[in-house]
């Protein structure tokens, strides 16, 4: 996760400019390669090798007819991609719809997690009482294994015996009638809530760490200038958090866009159309309807999209973060 590749001073400026930046050696030596070797070997063998094989798979016709003798599977060139990207046909149309749903899902989840994480971090920044307890508590959802967290939410969202309806209908009286949360368009929002519940503590953790590195004097100076909390937040906190945010948003984007466990556990294997994320769509094509070639082509498209977004994002934010 070396996102900071592009923002580290020493990679762009000559090492001598900054006194604090390390002055990497230029001498030709094999030593660093030796240290790098285990990581490199593992990544190549376990990540890149299978990944390339997966990309090759996307060029094959690989369904149940070829599976047992996959090495004889016929090449289709870009045949799978033509099917996957043809939005006028059912396969392409359903991929496109899951892509759009995933996009909306990602934006909502990141935004909500970020806002909640920031609000909590700022609120706890100077708290004297209960800080340790609340910090501990807020981190629990993030530490829970995915299955445990999501199955609990499935339980809460049940229409008849669930907690959510119990609170909304019986206790608060906000709704007249028990609502469905695991079906139809509500399922999308339910899925967002669960994802936010699991993700926001990560934003909180990162932002809290970021806040700790902002010197208190800056706020004192701000107070002397007569700046209220909101102005201080906008003019001191936010700009100084920019580097954290750059990393945080990217990491959350990559995790959320590839979300699989939440829908898989929440909807018991058949996600409602309105909430079907792209990874579920790919899983269905690969392991449920057994068209591994098509599934691989979808994955390849997804990979390309993520690479593109990340590349653009890094280029765009690199300048901004530095101006700040």
């Amino acid at each position: 996760m070396s996102i900071r590749t592009d923002v580290k001073p020493e990679t762009r400026r000559p090492p001598t400019v900054s006194a604090t930046a390390p002055a990497p050696r230029r001498r030709r030596t094999w030593t660093p390669y030796l240290f790098l070797l285990p990581a490199l070997a593992l990544e190549l063998v376990v990540h890149f090798g299978p990944m390339l094989a997966g990309l090759v798979m996307s060029l094959l016709k690989l369904t149940q007819y070829q599976l047992a003798r996959w090495w004889e599977a016929p090449w289709t060139g870009f045949g799978n991609f033509e099917v996957v990207l043809d939005v006028d046909q059912p396969v392409g149309a359903s991929l496109l719809s899951s892509f759009l749903i995933t996009l909306a899902f990602t934006v909502i989840v990141i935004a909500a997690s970020w806002v909640m994480g920031t609000a909590a971090a700022v609120s706890l920044q100077n708290a004297r009482v209960g800080r340790g307890v609340l910090r501990t508590l807020f981190l629990v959802p993030y530490a829970l294994p995915a299955f445990a967290a999501v199955i609990t939410w499935r339980f809460l969202f049940q229409r008849d015996n669930g907690m959510v309806n119990h609170v909304l209908v019986d206790q608060l009286g906000v709704l007249d009638e028990n609502a469905f949360f695991l079906l139809g368009s509500n399922a999308f929002w339910a899925q967002c809530v669960v994802a936010v519940w699991r993700l926001w503590p990560f934003a909180f953790l990162m932002l809290m760490a970021g806040l700790q590195s902002i010197p208190g004097e800056l706020y004192e100076a701000g107070t002397l200038d007569g700046a209220g909390p909101w102005r201080q937040f906008r003019e001191i906190t936010l700009p100084l958090l920019a580097p954290v945010n750059q990393v945080l948003v990217l990491v959350m984007f990559l995790w959320t866009f590839k979300e699989f466990e939440t829908p898989f556990v929440l909807f018991g294997g058949s996600a409602p159309e309105q909430a079907r994320l792209i990874n579920v769509e790919i899983y269905q094509n690969s392991f449920v309807t057994w068209n591994f070639g098509l599934g691989a082509a979808m994955s390849a498209v997804l990979l390309l999209f993520l690479l593109l977004v990340t590349g653009v994002y890094l280029l765009a934010t690199r300048r901004k973060v530095h101006e700040a």
Binding site: F48, V56, K61, R159, F180, L183, G269, T289
Partner: protein
């Protein structure tokens, strides 16, 4: 570097291909003392499954000297495990399959064929119920599996609720089912909302949704594959699905909440607590005992028939088949184990324990005389058909099943789809399956 790596991978793959290629012929006996067997989870807990199977397998070991390494696999993982085993050639000697997947898995070519000679080794094909044998292969091909346990849909009804509502006998036709359902759907607490329902459904499971759609469609004469080509959008198929949706929609005999049941647990619970009067489910055996419901409190009847005319279809034949992987290294031992598992004695023991019905004709007589078993055996003999015996069964089941669940979800929120909406979606699914999607 990418290209070179790719070359290495391709080279390694072809080498592996050459190696596995040698084995693909049809099994050998290089390792005659050990067998690995993947059994599917048949009971509510993995532990119970082991307790049922292990003593039987010990008996097999005593008799033959062959050690059986058993692994019980939950259904959620079974298909993934089988697919990866198929692809890699590294799997067990024997595996249990959900019988509906058999034709699809047959297409992979990884399963051993049970031709006449093989069948003769386990006592011949005649020992099995005809319809059960049909689940072991695609239409017109050699079987690749042997039936072990079978189930059919049956109508379970709560006797107390029936007598309270004055319904004297279980419905024999679908029209009667709806009428009875309306009588049985009641508001018992006086808050203006029904809290007792005529029928319970497992609405969010695409498998069950597909089962209903298939049974109701087939009972009207729908054919889903004509000449091997998908044709899901027949008028009969559409009205079968409409009938299913109407139970919740137009007829209001099903609790809309049932649309979110991913399993049967809530329905069984409601049934045992007198909140649901009828269930159309596959043979239950002991299941309701776990819910504290004794056998005298519910009745079992055949699934209603279409009136008038139609084809008399009450169920598809569900259950579990056992197959031998082609690259087994203990072919004789595996065959022997299948012979053992399908022997009358083991069939009786295992099917009793799992609450299923033996597909072996001779096993049925003594032990399977409860009402439930009698109805099931009658249904199996006269009114059950297999799911489509085509290689695209898995796609058919998933895509159609998912569509039906989403229609039921829409129905639950008050938007039951029209016949035309259903038809056009079915047409597009046919096209999708035809194109290999």
């Amino acid at each position: 570097m990418g290209a070179r790596l790719l070359a290495v991978i391709v080279a390694a793959a072809s080498a592996a291909a050459a190696l596995t290629g040698c084995q693909a012929g049809g099994g050998d006996n290089a390792n005659p003392k050990v067998l690995t067997y993947w059994a599917s989870q048949q009971s509510p807990s993995l532990d119970r499954d082991k307790q049922i199977l292990e003593p039987e397998l010990r008996r097999f070991t005593e008799r033959t000297g062959i050690k059986v390494e058993l692994e019980v696999i939950p259904f959620t993982d079974l298909l993934k495990r089988i697919l990866t085993a198929t692809t890699s050639g590294k799997g067990p000697d024997l595996v249990n399959l959900g019988n509906t997947w058999t034709p699809s898995l047959q297409a992979t070519g990884a399963l051993l064929e049970w031709d006449g000679a093989m069948m003769a080794k386990i006592g011949g094909a005649d020992r099995f119920e005809k319809v059960a044998l049909k689940t072991t292969s695609a239409e017109g091909t050699t079987p690749v599996a042997v039936p072990l346990y079978t189930k059919v849909f049956q109508l379970y009804y709560n006797k107390k609720l029936f007598s309270e509502a004055g319904v004297s006998r279980p419905p024999a036709t679908w029209a009667e089912l709806v009428d009875a359902g309306k009588q049985l759907t009641r508001d018992t607490t006086g808050d203006g909302k029904p809290d007792q329902w005529g029928l319970g459904l497992r609405g969010q499971a695409y498998t069950t949704a597909l089962h209903y759609a298939y049974i109701l469609g087939s009972a009207r004469g729908a054919r889903y594959f004509t000449g091997g080509k998908p044709a899901f959008d027949s008028a009969e198929a559409v009205s079968g699905i409409e009938q299913y949706l109407s139970w919740m929609g137009k007829d209001r005999i099903v609790n809309p909440s049932d649309a979110e049941n991913a399993d049967w647990a809530d329905v069984y619970e409601a049934f045992s607590k007198d909140r649901v009067a009828m269930m159309l489910v596959q043979t239950l055996g002991q299941t309701l005992k776990d819910y504290g419901l004794s056998e005298d409190r519910y009745g079992v009847a055949p699934v209603p028939a279409v009136t008038p005319g139609g084809k008399d279809v009450a169920s598809f034949l569900g259950g579990t088949n056992v197959a031998i992987f082609k690259n087994t290294d203990n072919l004789d031992g595996a065959t022997e184990l299948v012979r053992f598992l399908t022997s009358v004695g083991e069939q009786t023991v295992l099917n009793t324990a799992y609450g299923t019905i033996p597909p072996v004709k001779d096993a049925g007589d003594a032990a399977f005389q409860t009402d439930e078993a009698k109805v099931a055996r009658q249904t199996m003999a006269d009114r059950a058909i297999p799911l489509p015996r085509v290689a695209q069964e898995a796609q058919f089941e998933t895509l159609l099943g998912n569509a039906v669940t989403s229609w039921l979800a829409a129905t639950a929120t008050g938007k039951q789809p029209s016949a035309e909406q259903i038809r056009s979606e079915l047409a597009s699914l046919s096209q999708r399956v035809a194109s290999g999607g």
